[in-house]
Amino acid sequence: MHELSLVHALFDQADRAVLPHGPERVRRVEVAIGALAGVEVDLFRTAFEIARVERGYRSAELTIERVPAEHACSVCGARPLAGAPLACPCGGRVALTRGGDLILKRIELEVPDV
């Protein structure tokens, strides 16, 4: 399971993003996981729970946006039907246009209002 190493990569990035406040002030971490990002969402949640306290994010909740996969022909723009062969009748190159990424989107912190 590579989800644990991905979660540690998440906290590495978050550590830098939440300076100068520190991880203990983080209340929410939002990620977007594509259907073809190669990540098992339940395992990712479990890994987040395993690493959260150890990394100092005691009060952080994880919010996951699931992004569906979409392919499109780079020439005519046609999208293959779900489950059908991906090749486009026009012969153009088909590429994944959405749903291949694993993104740390946003972090919410609760900070003193001074």
Binding site: H2, V18, R27, L86, L104, K105, R106, I107, E110, V111
Partner: protein, 232 residues
């Protein structure tokens, strides 16, 4: 909170990050890709299930390429250096990466392996096979600086594997169907159906059929490998 002026109150601050969780690996892989270009080596990332025949395929390729290409190989496994020893016996400059518990190779592991003596042997080669940890899931998302992603799928694994493990096939440049000498013993398994399923998950399907035992298709494999890179 004080009830005079509200000091001690808190507010919520939102920090937009929008970075890939693989950013560090992708950065290291870009370094590797530049390094490979500088030393004139093309790297091929060979992925597939445990027992799909990755090592046997590379042994067969080494026999076919003897005298024409100088080959190095990095072989990843959780434990032992058995595969690296097999590849070395086949005439390849081979080194093992023992991952312990990690289910995949990442760019940092390749980088570390290229330091020291083995890096010098890779620089003398023109083709580097990176035999990934046997796993049809995790290795797919880690860029290793390769010029080509090869997915090895044995016919004994059944026809439905591309549909069940689409991410790896989505990332593949070439799919090699191995053990085709066993097809007569596998009722219900046809390479036609395997190819059809690959085409549903691989945007630009490119499939070759090989038996490392009989040698059928090994020439097709050799022809499908990236050409020798211009150095520099």
């Amino acid at each position: 909170m004080c009830d005079v002026c509200g000091c001690g109150d808190t507010r919520v601050v939102s920090v937009d990050v929008h970075t890939s969780l693989l950013a560090h690996n992708d950065h290291e892989a870009a370094h590797l890709r530049r390094h490979f270009a500088e030393i004139g080596v093309v790297a091929v990332n060979v992925m597939g299930s445990p027992g799909s025949g990755k090592t046997a395929l590379l042994e067969a390729a080494a026999r076919a390429l003897a005298g024409t290409r100088r080959i190095a190989a990095l072989s990843g496994d959780l434990a032992t250096r058995l595969d690296a020893d097999r590849l070395a016996a086949a005439g390849i400059a081979a080194e093992a990466i023992t991952t312990g518990s990690a289910c995949h190779l990442d760019a940092d592991m390749i980088h570390r392996a290229l330091h020291g003596d083995f890096g010098a042997r890779v620089a003398e080669a023109d083709l580097l096979f990176i035999e990934n940890v046997g796993n049809l899931v995790c290795p797919a998302i880690y860029d290793l600086g390769q010029a080509q992603n090869v997915v090895v799928l044995s016919v004994t694994e059944g026809v439905d594997k591309p549909l069940k493990y689409p991410v790896m096939f989505q990332k593949a440049d070439l799919v090699v169907l191995t053990k085709i000498d066993l097809l007569p013993h596998l009722p219900g398994v046809t390479t036609r159906e395997l190819r059809d399923n690959v085409a549903r998950v691989m945007p630009a399907p490119r499939v070759i059929e090989v038996s490392a035992v009989t040698g059928v298709g090994v020439e097709d494999l050799v022809a499908a490998l990236p050409p020798v890179a211009a150095r520099g």
